[in-house]
């Protein structure tokens, strides 16, 4: 996979990336929304996609997991080209997806939601380990999934893909609409997951939150990646970033 191993200008890590996205284009019906997304994620890295509303961040995640089927370019995960695969095959390679709307099933209890995604690889967390991470879930197991608070639903949405053995997690705005104390908890969780060796792609609007957890940030604008900023160079680039995000 020579192409996937190419370094992206601007200093992506030298190890072979776990996920390499090249010239990703995608369409919603006739509407062309991604115009060439390029980025790499190294194993164990936490990378964010930052950008304004409608820039194409969520679409990028949906294209990677294959929910958005009309897409071209190249997405190589763990050495396998997935651009033509159906989403269920992509998931089976070891990618876990947390959608923006969290996707908790209202006709399932919390326990059923938690064990719904099947195991795709060995080495997933046990439910006991997930309860250590999110103690709230243990008390609510028999509740209807959507009766949980927003924060608890987010924990459930993250928790249920940790069981599956997926090693790449795609998290779409996990902090959206949550109270600051819950955002902190999600932040600690992401840090903990990074320690455990998970690779994470995080879509965020809130770059202050992103800065606390990520190694690198890709800036998405109008369906393209326009810049990459290392987290340790964030302070030096803060004005530029404000410009991108319009804050």
């Amino acid at each position: 996979m020579p192409e996937a191993a190419v370094r992206v200008a601007g200093g992506a890590p030298a190890t072979a990336p776990l996920l390499a996205v090249r010239n990703l284009q995608a369409w919603y019906g006739e509407s062309h929304v991604l115009h060439g997304i390029d980025f790499d994620v190294a194993p164990g890295e936490v990378v964010t996609l930052l950008g304004r509303n409608g820039a194409g961040k969520t679409t990028t995640l949906r294209s990677i997991i294959g929910i958005l089927r009309k897409r071209t370019g190249s997405i190589v995960f763990d050495g396998r080209e997935t651009i033509r695969m159906a989403s269920r095959h992509i998931a089976q390679l070891g990618i876990g997806y947390v959608p923006e709307e969290r996707g908790i099933f209202s006709s399932l209890s919390v326990a059923e939601n938690l064990v719904l995604p099947p195991q795709v690889k060995p080495g997933g967390m046990t439910t006991e380990q997930i309860f250590t991470l999110f103690p709230n879930l243990r008390e609510r197991l028999s509740s209807q999934g959507t009766k949980l608070s927003g924060g608890e639903q987010q924990m459930l949405a993250i928790g249920r893909i940790l069981r599956t053995g997926a090693n790449l997690l795609l998290l779409d705005e996990p902090t959206e609409g949550l109270a600051p104390v819950i955002v902190e908890q999600i932040g600690r969780t992401i840090a903990r997951l990074k320690q455990d060796g998970f690779t994470i792609v995080l879509v965020e609007q809130n770059f202050r939150f992103a800065a606390t957890v990520a190694d690198r940030h890709y800036v998405v604008e109008q369906g393209r990646v326009v810049d990459m900023i290392r987290n340790d160079e964030l302070d030096a680039n803060i004005d530029k970033l404000h410009g991108y995000l319009g804050v």
Binding site: R88, Y97, G103, L108, P117, P118
Partner: protein, 295 residues
């Protein structure tokens, strides 16, 4: 003769039993429709024809292969279920992203074709199918005479409905089904084979109809129109219960059978329309059905 509510008790209980029998068929058939509608979003108009096929397969097994009732009760749903799987794969799968209406029209056309073929082959006079000897006769309960076979129909239907409900509401497979009914895209993105789940669900719904057909064979004569007569009432039952509600379709099926039976006792003129009157009232007051969730 003793009387209850001004009606001879024999008549009252007789009609109640008849209502319960009809209710059994309504329940099993509307359950199948509800499961199919839930996951496939298709109003399966071929359901009546598939019920009829169940009865015919049982009749053919006996006629041509000497296979009796009990094996037919197993084999006919499997055979008819397989035809359902083929129909889903070849035809319905192509309509997955189309409007409801296309699935309804397609299955309506299929129903006409299937009924036409059977009418052409076997005529409309009806073929006899005997009650299995183990269930012949009946018992006197004191207040009424209970034919064994009819008791069996009620028991078997109730058991099947409850077992289906249990699988859907209490097992992992059922959780997949419920989740895929809610959000198939996301379930697929977890690595679950949703197209296979859809095919098997349609096959199972169809098999339920065929099972009801075998149960019905010894009671009604086996004839190509038996499903067409039944399915219109079953659709009304489904509308009353709420499209897609599992428990709702079971409860409504049995309840409306009983209501129909009681109407026969107290106001026979209305017995064939009472369900449709109830349907209209329910649609006016609670358009999503008694157990349905508003869309």
């Amino acid at each position: 003769m003793s009387e209850l509510l001004g009606v001879p008790s024999q008549v009252l209980f007789g009609q109640l039993l008849l209502g319960l029998i009809n209710g059994s068929f309504y329940a099993v058939l509307s359950l199948g429709l509800a499961i199919i509608f839930g996951l496939l979003n298709i109003i399966n108009f071929a359901h009546g024809a598939q019920y009829m096929m169940g009865a015919f397969v049982a009749w053919m097994l006996l006629q041509y292969a000497g296979v009796g009732y009990w094996w037919a009760l197993l084999a006919a749903p499997v055979v008819v279920g397989i035809t359902g799987v083929v129909i889903e794969r070849l035809l319905l799968a192509r309509l997955r992203n189309a409007d409801h209406l296309y699935g309804l029209l397609l299955t309506f056309g299929l129903a006409l074709i299937i009924q036409g073929i059977f009418r052409n082959e076997y005529g409309v006079s009806g073929l006899p199918y005997g009650i299995p000897p183990e269930l012949a006769g009946g018992r006197n309960l004191g207040f009424m005479f209970l034919p064994n076979y009819r008791a069996w129909v009620v028991l078997a239907s109730l058991t099947l409905c409850l077992a289906t409900w249990f699988v859907i509401e209490r097992t992992r497979l059922g959780a997949y089904l419920r989740a895929a009914t809610e959000n198939p895209t996301l379930v697929q993105a977890f690595g679950i084979n949703v197209p296979l789940l859809v095919t098997l669900t349609y096959g199972f719904g169809v098999a339920l109809a065929a099972f009801a057909g075998v149960l019905a064979a010894p009671i009604y004569s086996v004839n190509p129109n038996m499903g067409a007569d039944m399915i219109i009432v079953v659709f009304a039952v489904v509308v009353i219960g709420g499209m897609g509600s599992i428990l709702g379709s079971i409860v409504t099926g049995f309840a409306l059978g009983i209501v129909e039976g009681l109407t026969k006792v107290f106001y026979p003129e209305a017995s064939s329309t009472v369900i449709f009157v109830i349907m209209i009232l329910v649609l006016l007051v609670k358009p999503a059905g008694l157990f349905g969730r508003a869309a």
